[in-house]
Amino acid sequence: MASIIVNNGLQRIGTQASQSTSGAGPTYNAARHIQTMSVDDSTVAFAAGDTALNTGGAVTNEYDAALTSAPVRSGQTHPHIMTIPTGSGNFTIRRIALHDDTAANVLVGSTTLVAGVDGQTLTKTSDFTMTITLNLLYTSV
């Protein structure tokens, strides 16, 4: 199990904060902020060079949705919340990830991956709704 902010995600966070341009890769774009969360059943661990959910291997089941609301920062903590309704995402969730595009543009092969947690075993069924919070915490010490 591991948690990671992939290289593209670090570039996204940096370019949004500094409004940077670049010859390649993520550049500042007001529309390309973290706004979608996904779950999937891949057992492949995320790696720093991943740009999409399927970079490390095929993904069989995936569900994504827009964040339930815009993140409300508290101190240095940025919360991201998704809700999976009873009728969706009903598989064993192995990975949870954040994306920097709209849910319509997030596909298993889209270059939208920012950060993720892998190695989970959360069995979603139609018996309940699942609400997942992914906090990004930045601490200066």
Binding site: I132, T133, Y138, S140, V141
Partner: protein
């Protein structure tokens, strides 16, 4: 000597809920599906089934 200068962490929390079920019924459904019950939030009528908090980046600075 160095000291941590910046730490980035990811924290994940997963809750199961269903307003049509009692907490006891929900707990049974959660257990039957193979999930581990980490916490029962009676006020929130929900059950925590997943939690992770891990550092993803630590930068050191000289002091």
């Amino acid at each position: 000597m160095v000291k941590a200068g910046l730490k980035m962490e990811i924290e994940m929390v997963a809750w199961a809920s269903n307003p049509d079920l009692t907490l006891e019924e929900l707990e049974q459904k959660v257990r039957d599906s193979g999930n581990e019950v980490l916490e029962i939030d009676k006020e929130g009528n929900r059950i925590k089934i997943g939690y992770v908090r891990q550092p993803v980046l630590t930068m050191e600075r000289p002091v």
